[in-house]
Amino acid sequence: MQGNHPVWDVYDQFRTARLNELYYGRRLLSYERFNFWSEVVVAVTSSSSAIAGFAFWSSEAGNPAWKAMLALAAVVTVMKPLLNLTKRIRSYEELFSGYRLQFHDLKDLRIDISQARDYTEAHKARFKKIIDKQRLLADKSPERMEHKRVKSECQAAVLAEFPSRSFFIPGGRDGR
């Protein structure tokens, strides 16, 4: 059966690498946005800020908004060191880049398989090398806590991008 062909391991890993790339890209973006806006709130409400001197903040409409901004800035100032954003963003950057490169390695392999119209021993050796690197990552995995919504959106995106029919299977379909 074509679904049992060993080349599917390559394609499964290819889609999983893409899933990880998208997932960590999305998580990185969220934290970067949060970091940016928290910096903006703190900068705007600081006493040296030109915006803090606007007469508008003393008006009836502006005063509650200003108080809300001050409260938000206070919360952000307390939360930021606890969240350890710098470290977190750095780790997300590393993971995102790691999976992006792995995805490109697998993409190259996929193209080579398709070009050769076969899944050869050389392809298997290359795939094993890529998997070995993956194992190093998995060994370092501390715990499991996923963002379910982001993950399911990324899964759907991967399936739409790479449906099963888009892969070359030696000896089957168009690989006959």
Binding site: Q2, L19, T86, I89, R90, S91, E93, E94, L95
Partner: protein
């Protein structure tokens, strides 16, 4: 005996070494901040850092990030 041949280190040297270590730590912190704010690394640089065992201490996985996402169910093959 090899141990007897060694001169005991003068206390000043100890202090100096300690200070040096401290400075080094400080430099390291600075370097870390610098890395992030620049945030421009080539893929090769990041991966070299990422895969290297030597740099294990540099990796910060002590938070709620786990590093491998598997699909909820196996990828479809038909």
């Amino acid at each position: 005996m090899a141990g007897k041949d060694r001169d005991p280190q003068p206390p000043q040297e100890h202090e100096h070494e300690h200070e040096h270590e401290h400075e080094h730590e400080h430099e390291h912190e600075h370097e870390y901040e610098h890395d992030y704010t620049e945030s421009v690394h080539s893929h090769e640089e990041i991966l070299e850092h990422f895969w290297s065992d030597e740099d294990e201490a540099e990796l910060h996985y002590d938070h709620l990030i786990h590093n491998h996402i598997e699909p909820d169910k196996p990828w479809p093959r038909d």
